[in-house]
Symmetry: C2
Subunit: 306 residues, 2 copies
């Protein structure tokens, strides 16, 4: 069953205390695809300029990522330049050049319209709605957003929420969208506006899966070496959606498992610069880390106290 991602395909220049990259492959759709394809084939819809190193893109997980939906437009590719603080807790955007991304109008290819699992990366909510108008019977629609759209396209975003199954955002976005600093009330606010579930990512602390009557907490994998947090959230989404698409099971229990696969992919993403954290990673490595995750929260059964 087709897993489709619509999002940015960018060139990132990132400064961290440990080194820097210049014009490295990045963007939400790229991180999503590289992580998700470890579990399930991924179809990518996006846009790049004539300057994009498409051959590099096509070299990534060649057999499981279909890049044919990435349009090549006249103009420059989307570039993002950012700098992280010494402790990686915050980052500053030094430059954003939208290039061809400014005129991006996602066009699904023949075959895409029947996609069952759809991830709407962080783009204008009106474009996200436009994608949903092109698909016929999705089984699961997950979307991301950011402060820029929360502030500038609030009505479109609220309209979108009525048509998605899961909103997947970070804690600052959930707080800003709901206007509530308590993350559990913020999650409930979102659940009252359409989605049946909300995933709230909390960086180094992990991520929450909130359902109407049940909340799940997936901690972040304990890492002594974190090099570059860029793309961790999109890799999380790729792992989550890849697992759901592979198993085809939308039950609460299975979405919890998907959270663990998401957290696993996030942990690979931050372990190196850009997408290099996935170099050489195979399904066996993924399964080993998933197993380690289980021990992280495992509590052996005991008799209740009386």
């Amino acid at each position: 069953m087709t897993l489709l991602v619509v999002g940015s395909v960018a060139l990132d220049s990132v400064y961290t205390p440990f080194g820097e990259t210049a014009d490295a492959l990045g963007g939400s759709a790229v991180y999503f695809a590289v992580a998700g394809a470890l579990l399930h084939p991924v179809q990518v819809v996006g846009v790049v300029g004539k300057d994009y190193p498409v051959a590099q893109l096509e070299g990534l997980g060649a057999r499981r990522i279909d890049w044919s939906g990435v349009e090549r437009a006249d103009g420059e590719s989307f570039r993002w330049k950012g700098k992280y603080s010494y402790d990686l807790q915050s980052r500053e955007t030094l430059e954003t050049r939208l290039g061809v991304f400014a005129q991006f109008r996602p066009r699904l290819l023949p075959g895409h319209e029947s996609a069952k699992f759809i991830f709407l990366g962080n783009i204008d909510p009106e474009l996200q709605l436009g994608v949903l108008d092109q698909v016929t019977q999705p089984r699961l629609v997950v979307c991301d957003t950011m402060n820029y759209w929360i502030q500038g396209k609030r009505e479109a975003l609220l309209g979108l929420l009525k048509r998605v199954d899961i909103l997947m955002v970070n804690d600052a976005e959930a707080r800003e969208l709901s206007g509530d600093w308590n993350i559990h009330r913020a999650g409930r606010w979102i659940l009252e506006r359409g989605p049946s579930r909300v995933v709230i990512k909390q960086g180094e602390y992990g991520a929450l899966l909130m359902e109407r009557n049940r909340t799940f907490y997936a901690p972040a994998f304990p890492l002594e070496e974190v090099f570059d947090p860029t793309g961790a959230g999109d890799a999380f989404a790729g792992g989550f959606m890849g697992y759901v698409a592979r198993t085809g099971d939308l039950s609460s229990d299975n979405l919890r498992r998907a959270m663990v696969y998401g957290a696993t992919m996030g942990s690979f993403a931050v372990a190196h610069f850009g997408i290099r954290g996935f170099d050489g990673v195979g399904l066996g490595d993924v399964e080993a880390r998933v197993a380690a995750f289980h021990d992280l929260t495992h509590v052996a059964a005991a008799e209740p106290l009386q």
Copy 2:
């Protein structure tokens, strides 16, 4: 087996966005005792001035908390005044009046010296060492500390670490003590200086139990209403130690269970001002929340992917 806590017995004046208290019962030993006594009898060693409402203290969990080790000294009781930000994420100390606490020299009563489970609340590490000199064969010594001692009494603190089994601190303290912003490296740094385990509390995100070869993550209980974070860490310690003292089991698996009881007590503490979050709470309430905690991280078993 005796559970002993040495720490502050104070009068707190706390301002939160939801209300305020003036001269309410507080201090690390009080929060610890109120939480711990839900699971196991607690002996308290501390000091108060002549102005302390001792009758109120003695009314708390009367049958399970022994306050006879709380000395009544000439002078004023320890008072703390603090104000929380609108989102409870940070607080400002408005006033600290040490009073009789400035001259506190913990003196254990006959019988205390054989205590098996000892919690050294956040006081001068030289005094914490002085307590250890008075006990004969403890089975588990857990200590807390704070930035003031990390900066001002570093050598004494490092000496203390060699004699305690578990250091229980918050993440900012672990970072400051180790000089490392990565919390997992910070934990390892501490483990290399004496304690066989370290517990790192992360406020609304939960707490980590780090052992030499295993890490456990206990999330915080999801609460839509948090009124006053004061004392949550000490209530956590009380739940943790109360469970260990009650079960007498120092295995890794049992300490993980103790973490869940700690997190449970922390969740009661923040649900109201001061120690009022424990009003009317009994063992049945504790067990119900512990059970709810298990669902928070429960992932149903599934076949590995191949």
